[in-house]
Amino acid sequence: MLNKDFQLKIGLAEMLKGGVIMDVTNPDQAKIAEDAGAVAVMALERIPADIRADGGVARMSNPKMIKEIQKVVSIPVMAKCRIGHFAEAQVLQTLGIDFIDESEVLTPADEKNHIWKHDFKVPFVCGCRDIGEALRRIGEGAAMIRTKGEAGSGNIVEAVRHMRSVQGSIRHIQTLSDDELMAYAKNIGAPVDLVMYVKEHGKLPVPNFSAGGIATPADASLMMQLGAETNFVGSGIFKSEDPAARAKAIVLATTHFDDPDTVARASEGLKEAMPGLEMSAIPEEEQLNKRGW
């Protein structure tokens, strides 16, 4: 599976490690993100908290808006397409997007199939809740995996659940004997060669990032300590009262995730974080992390 094209896609994900990728909806926000030290921006028309509030079908962003953002920043620009909507992905590839997020935050276009991502030259990132989902997406060609978390909730609990699940399963797979791997792969619905890779290397074949609910510097530190290699921050920055300061603080806390003094200093003086939602306040059918399989 590690042919040159795939190596190249994973290579860009490697360059984004230890950083913060921020959701932005216009060129001004993109500049704020870059100036705060973001390693990439995710260009989308509405941040997840607003998608949740507005309802309706959420689709790929307008190419005009994506191009405007590409013009003002020198860091990589990512964008989202709907799950299974390979035509949106083709458009994003044509626009020169650096990474496509086949995302549950948008309304799925195909309830059965995800995009066959090996067909594309541009790398993809996909969300997961557990190791089976992660390895299925990698099998389809995703060059980066992120936890789904619960986008737009400002609540870290789902991201923690998903990261702990993936990391726990990686440890479990390493305890299996070779003759148990096929049955394990069958049970989690994952390609057996990828399960074998995890056993041999003790990690996913692609970088493993965190997303969905990060709102504070301490949230960023928590996810890094749980094994995330980079943090995506969506609504957490531009739904807060002080986006520029909060963006910088989350970058610093991600770099120094293992140093509580720095995380404390980064958190000092910040205004209110985004309000956040209890998971019990989000009806099951409205939970974004339940989309996709």
Partner: protein, 188 residues
């Protein structure tokens, strides 16, 4: 030997693995104090704008310059940009330790990233190496003091000025340790 790797952001773990495979000790560092334990330093690939902001924010510049005055430093991709004298559009001045002029993202966006054979010269021996170029920079100009060690076609992709070694591609993303070995054993 103790090889420090600037671990503010980027693929520093890949460099650490290469150093360890060669039988040396890798030290991923985020603080100036840690530099005192290091014999040489690697500045990894990553996002040059994000790394230079952190260097400023954490006030690491004086310590890095002081270290480079007496020790060898290698930079790959973003590391090359940070070590160059004229780095293109960075938000803060680069470290200016090698007299080259750089164009960031010179090949284009991720879709234009590529893997191709480059010709490098290590200890006088010409050889091929698999060059992994990811949103890579180009060396547009270089001073006479700069020794050219690698080409991709006519593009200069690897260069050295005394104790400073730079390449625009990512040897750390391959399993080939020749460039790391050259840096550790022959660049002083």
């Amino acid at each position: 030997m103790n090889i420090g790797i600037l671990a503010l952001q980027g693929d520093y773990v890949k460099h650490a693995r290469a150093v360890e495979k060669l039988g040396h000790t890798s030290i991923c560092l985020k603080e100036a104090d840690t530099l005192q334990k290091c014999d040489k330093l690697i500045i990894p690939g990553g996002e040059s704008t994000a790394i230079i902001r952190l260097i400023e924010k954490l006030k690491l510049r004086p310590a890095l310059l002081e270290f480079a005055a007496e020790h060898a430093v290698m930079g790959t991709c973003a590391g090359l940009i940070l070590l160059s004298k004229i780095p293109g559009n960075l938000p803060f001045p680069s470290l200016g330790l090698i007299d080259i002029e750089v164009e960031r993202n010179a090949y284009g966006r991720q879709i234009d990233s590529f893997i191709d054979t480059v010709q490098i010269t290590l200890n006088g021996q010409e050889q091929d190496f698999e060059g992994v170029f990811i949103r890579a920079p180009k060396i547009k100009k270089y001073a006479e003091t700069v020794e050219i060690l690698g080409y991709h076609g006519t593009d200069v992709v690897m260069a050295q000025d005394k104790n400073i070694l730079v390449c625009s591609f990512h040897p750390e993303l391959t399993n080939d340790l020749r460039i790391h070995d050259f840096f550790i054993s022959s660049v002083d």
